[in-house]
C-alpha cells in the first residue's frame, strides 16, 4: 500500500486538477473536430489548447524553461513541463527530496509517443533537404527514455529513472513498479506518471486499423465507432507515509492473444482485475466504482464488459469511461484515469460516462449516465493495451 502524496493532471478538458474534476463531474467533453494544421484526418481530438502552435506567449519567456530548454524542447516535454509546474506538484516533490534525499526518489513514467512529433517534422525536412534540422536533438526528444530524464531533471530527482512503453497500459503499470521498488528498498518515494502528445503516427496509425471514430467517441454506446485520440500529462507522488488516499494494490496480465485486438472474452482483463483484488485483499463487492478503459472501439468495450461480468457477476458495479472527456490519451491514459479514480474518493462522487447517449444493453453494464454522489471506499481503474497488456489499479480512502 502506498500513500498518494500529490498529483497533477493536464488534458484537453482540464488545465489543472480542479478544472479536470469539474469537467469529469459535469460530463463536459474536451474533444473537438480535428483542426490540426498538420493532419487532416476526419476525426475528433483532445488537444491541450496551450500547446497549439505558435507557442502562446509566456512559455518561452519563462526563464526556468529556457534554462532547461537546450535540446529537450518538443510538444511532449512542453506538456510534461506544464503538468509538473502546476497543482503544487513540484513543491511536493521537493519536500520529499528534502525528507529522503534526491537519490531516494525514483521516477517511473510511461509513454508511447515520446517526442515523435518532432521526429515526424524532422523526417519531412530530411526528405526535402537530405539532412536533419539543425536543432533536432533526437536523444532528448524522440528517445523513449527522454520523458523520464526530463521529468527527473525538472524535479531534481536523482534516483533510478526508467520509462515504460507498453501501449495503453504504460502509465498504469508504473504505479505497481513503484510499489515493488519501494518494497525492496531501492527507493523511498516514487514520481510515477505518463505523457503522450498528439502526433501523426498515432492518428494515422489508428486510422489504418479502422479504429478512429469520425465522431466524438461514444464509450459503451450501441453506435460506438472507435476512439478519439487525446493528449495528456499526469504525475502522482507515492510514498510509504499514510495519506488520505492510497494505492491499495493492482494486478497485471497479458492476453497472449493478438497484437492489436483484445481477447474476445477479455481473459487478460479478467485476470488483471482479479489479481488486483487479491493484491488489495478485497472482494469484488467492495469496489464502489470502476473507471473503465472504455475506448469506444467495438472490440474493446465488448471484451471489457465480458471481463467485468466475470469479475463483478450479476451484482455488477457502477462504471463509467471518462475517455469521452479527455479522448484516449494512450500512454498517458493509465495515470490520467488513475487521477480521476483518486478524485472520486476525495470528492465522494462518481463521474458519468461522457459521450454515451444510448448504452449498448447487450453489454449488461451498470453504466453511470450522470454524476452520482456515493460514499465510496474503494475504486478501480483499468487500462488495457496493444499487445494484450492489461493493468488494473485499486485506490482506497484511508480513514
Amino acid at each position: 500500500m502506498l500513500g498518494v502524496d500529490a498529483y497533477s493532471t493536464l488534458h484537453a478538458a482540464g488545465p489543472d486538477n480542479a478544472a479536470s474534476w469539474r469537467a469529469m463531474q459535469g460530463g463536459s467533453s474536451g474533444l473537438k473536430p480535428n483542426d490540426l494544421p498538420w493532419c487532416d484526418l476526419p476525426c475528433w481530438i483532445g488537444e491541450v489548447p496551450e500547446l497549439r502552435e505558435p507557442t502562446p506567449a509566456g512559455m518561452l519567456d519563462d526563464q526556468d524553461w529556457l534554462a532547461l530548454l537546450a535540446g529537450w524542447d518538443c510538444r511532449q516535454h512542453r506538456l510534461a513541463w506544464l503538468a509538473l509546474a502546476r497543482n503544487g506538484f513540484d513543491q511536493a516533490v521537493k519536500a520529499s527530496i528534502r525528507a529522503h534525499g534526491a537519490h531516494r526518489v525514483g521516477v517511473i513514467v510511461g509513454s508511447t509517443t515520446s517526442g515523435i512529433r518532432s521526429t515526424e517534422q524532422a523526417y519531412r525536412k530530411h526528405v526535402a533537404r537530405g539532412r536533419w534540422p539543425d536543432r533536432f536533438d533526437w536523444r532528448r526528444t524522440h528517445s523513449l527514455e527522454s520523458l523520464g530524464r526530463f521529468a527527473a531533471r525538472v524535479l531534481g530527482c536523482t534516483g533510478p529513472t526508467i520509462t515504460l512503453s507498453t501501449a495503453c497500459s504504460s502509465s498504469a503499470k508504473v504505479f505497481l513498479l513503484a510499489q515493488r521498488w519501494i518494497d525492496v528498498g531501492l527507493i523511498d518515494v516514487a514520481v510515477v506518471g505518463g505523457v503522450d502528445s498528439l502526433c501523426e503516427s498515432s492518428l494515422r496509425g489508428f486510422a489504418s486499423l479502422d479504429l478512429l471514430s469520425p465522431q466524438a467517441c461514444q464509450p459503451f454506446d450501441e453506435a460506438r465507432a472507435g476512439i478519439s485520440i487525446g493528449e495528456a500529462a499526469g504525475f502522482v507522488l507515492l510514498g510509504r507515509e499514510k495519506r488520505a488516499t492510497a494505492l491499495m494494490g493492482g494486478g497485471e496480465a497479458s492476453d497472449a492473444w493478438h497484437m492489436s485486438t483484445p481477447h474476445p472474452d477479455g481473459r487478460g482483463a479478467t485476470q488483471a482485475m482479479r489479481a488486483a483484488l487479491d493484491d488489495a485483499g478485497l472482494g469484488a463487492a467492495q469496489i464502489g466504482y470502476v473507471n473503465a478503459h472504455g475506448t469506444a472501439t467495438r472490440a474493446n468495450d465488448r471484451s471489457e464488459a465480458a471481463a467485468m461480468r466475470c469479475v463483478f457477476g450479476a451484482q455488477g458495479v457502477a462504471v463509467s469511461s471518462t475517455k469521452g472527456v479527455t479522448g484516449h490519451t494512450l500512454g498517458a491514459a493509465g495515470v490520467t484515469e488513475a487521477i480521476v479514480a483518486i478524485q472520486t474518493l476525495e470528492h465522494q462522487a462518481l463521474p458519468p460516462s461522457t459521450g454515451t447517449s444510448s448504452v449498448d444493453d447487450s453489454l449488461e453494464l451498470d453504466l453511470l449516465t450522470c454524476t452520482r454522489s456515493a460514499s465510496t471506499e474503494f475504486v478501480m481503474s483499468n487500462s488495457f493495451g496493444f499487445g494484450g497488456s492489461n493493468c488494473s489499479l485499486i485506490f482506497g480512502r484511508v480513514s
Binding site: 523526417y123 527527473a152 507498453t166 503516427s201 486510422a207 486499423l209 497472449a256 497484437m259 496493444f386
Partner: protein, 311 residues
C-alpha cells in the same frame, strides 16, 4: 541495499556469439570476435556441462560481419511468424535459447524486456511513410510499439504473466537489470530479462549507430525461491550513488571498482552504441569465479557482482 538473484539459464545472440558456451569461451580466452574460433572447442572447454550450452549455432570469423538474421520462433503461430519484425525474431530467439533449459517456465515467467530503440526499424518504416505522404500499413503501426517483442513472446509461449517493456536509452541494459532483479526479489517469482538492440536503417542510423544486432537473456529467480535446481551463477545487484549531497557538500561516493560501462576488448567496436552489448559483457562474468561490473544509470551506477558459488 542489495538485491540478489540466481541465474538459472541464459541466452546470447549476436554476430559471432550464438551461445553461452561460445561467450564463455570468448571471455575466458579474451579473443577478438574477428578472429575465428575452433567450433569443436566451444563446448565444454570452460569445464561447464553441456546443460548450459545454447542450441543456436553462431557464425564466426568473416561471416560475423555479414547480415545476421535471427531465425523465426517455431513457437509462434504461422500467421504471427509472418508478421514478426526482425527485432521480434531477435528477442524471441535469444529468450528461447535460455528457455531451452527450462521449457517448463516459458508460460509462467514474468517478463522484463529492455531496449534503447528496439523497434527502430519499424519506426523508420512508419516515419518514412508519413514523411512521403504514403498510407500507413496497419501491420507496421502494430509492430511499431516498443512492447511488440514482449507481446509476440506472450503469444508464442501462452504467457499471460505481468510483462514490462522499458527503455533507459543507452543505459537500457542497466535499467532492465535493476528492474528484473527488483521484480524477482519483490515477487519471489522467476523473471526472464531480455536486453536487445536491432540494427537501424538509414537515416535513423545516422542518429544512433546500431548496425549489428545484440541480445542477452537472463532467466533469474530470487535465491531459495525455487525448488533445488542447478544454478549457473549467483549475483548481487546494488544501486551505487555516484554523487550524494547533503546541502551543497558531497558526502558519500562509493569508489568504482573498475571503469564504469567497461566493454571488454572481445566485444567489437561496431557494437559501441548497443546498450545490450553491456549485457553480453556482463555475462562474461560466467567465465570468472567471481567479479564485479558497474553500469551507469543516470546519476547512479548499477553494480552487478558474481558471487562465489557454494558448489
Amino acid at each position: 541495499m542489495a538485491l540478489h538473484f540466481d541465474l538459472i539459464a541464459a541466452g546470447v545472440l549476436a554476430p559471432g556469439i550464438g551461445s553461452i558456451g561460445q561467450l564463455i569461451e570468448r571471455a575466458a580466452t579474451s579473443q577478438r570476435l574477428d578472429s575465428p574460433i575452433d567450433g569443436t572447442a566451444s563446448h565444454g572447454a570452460s569445464g561447464r556441462g553441456d546443460r548450459f550450452i545454447g542450441t543456436m549455432p553462431g557464425r564466426t570469423g568473416a561471416q560475423a560481419s555479414e547480415a545476421f538474421l535471427a531465425p523465426s520462433s517455431t513457437a509462434l503461430p504461422a500467421n504471427e511468424r509472418r508478421r514478426a519484425s526482425a527485432v521480434v525474431r531477435l528477442a524471441l530467439a535469444c529468450a528461447e535459447q535460455a528457455l531451452a533449459f527450462r521449457p517448463d517456465l516459458a508460460a509462467c515467467v514474468r517478463l522484463v524486456f529492455a531496449s534503447d530503440e528496439g523497434v527502430g526499424d519499424v519506426s523508420h518504416q512508419m516515419l518514412d511513410a508519413l514523411a512521403n505522404d504514403r498510407p500507413l500499413s496497419p501491420l507496421v503501426f502494430a509492430n511499431s510499439v516498443h512492447n511488440a517483442p514482449s507481446g509476440y513472446f506472450s503469444i508464442a509461449h501462452h504467457n499471460r504473466r505481468p510483462s514490462i517493456s522499458l527503455s533507459s536509452g543507452a543505459q537500457s541494459f542497466a535499467g532492465g537489470l535493476l528492474c528484473a532483479a527488483a521484480e524477482a526479489e519483490a515477487t519471489g517469482e522467476p523473471v526472464l530479462f531480455v536486453s536487445y538492440d536491432s540494427p537501424l536503417p538509414m537515416p535513423l542510423r545516422s542518429l544512433l549507430s546500431i548496425s549489428q544486432p545484440s541480445a542477452s537473456a537472463w532467466l533469474i529467480v530470487a535465491p531459495d525461491s525455487m525448488p533445488p535446481d542447478p544454478v549457473m551463477a549467483s549475483f548481487g545487484v546494488e544501486l551505487i550513488d555516484l554523487d550524494v549531497r547533503d546541502g551543497g557538500a558531497r558526502i558519500d561516493v562509493t569508489p568504482l571498482q573498475r571503469p564504469i560501462d567497461h566493454r571488454p576488448h572481445w566485444l567489437p567496436a561496431t557494437w559501441t552504441s548497443n546498450s545490450s552489448a553491456l549485457g553480453i559483457a556482463a555475462l562474461g562474468l560466467l567465465a570468472e569465479a567471481s567479479g564485479t561490473r558497474d553500469f551507469s544509470l543516470g546519476r547512479q551506477a548499477v553494480r552487478l557482482s558474481r558471487l562465489q558459488n557454494a558448489s
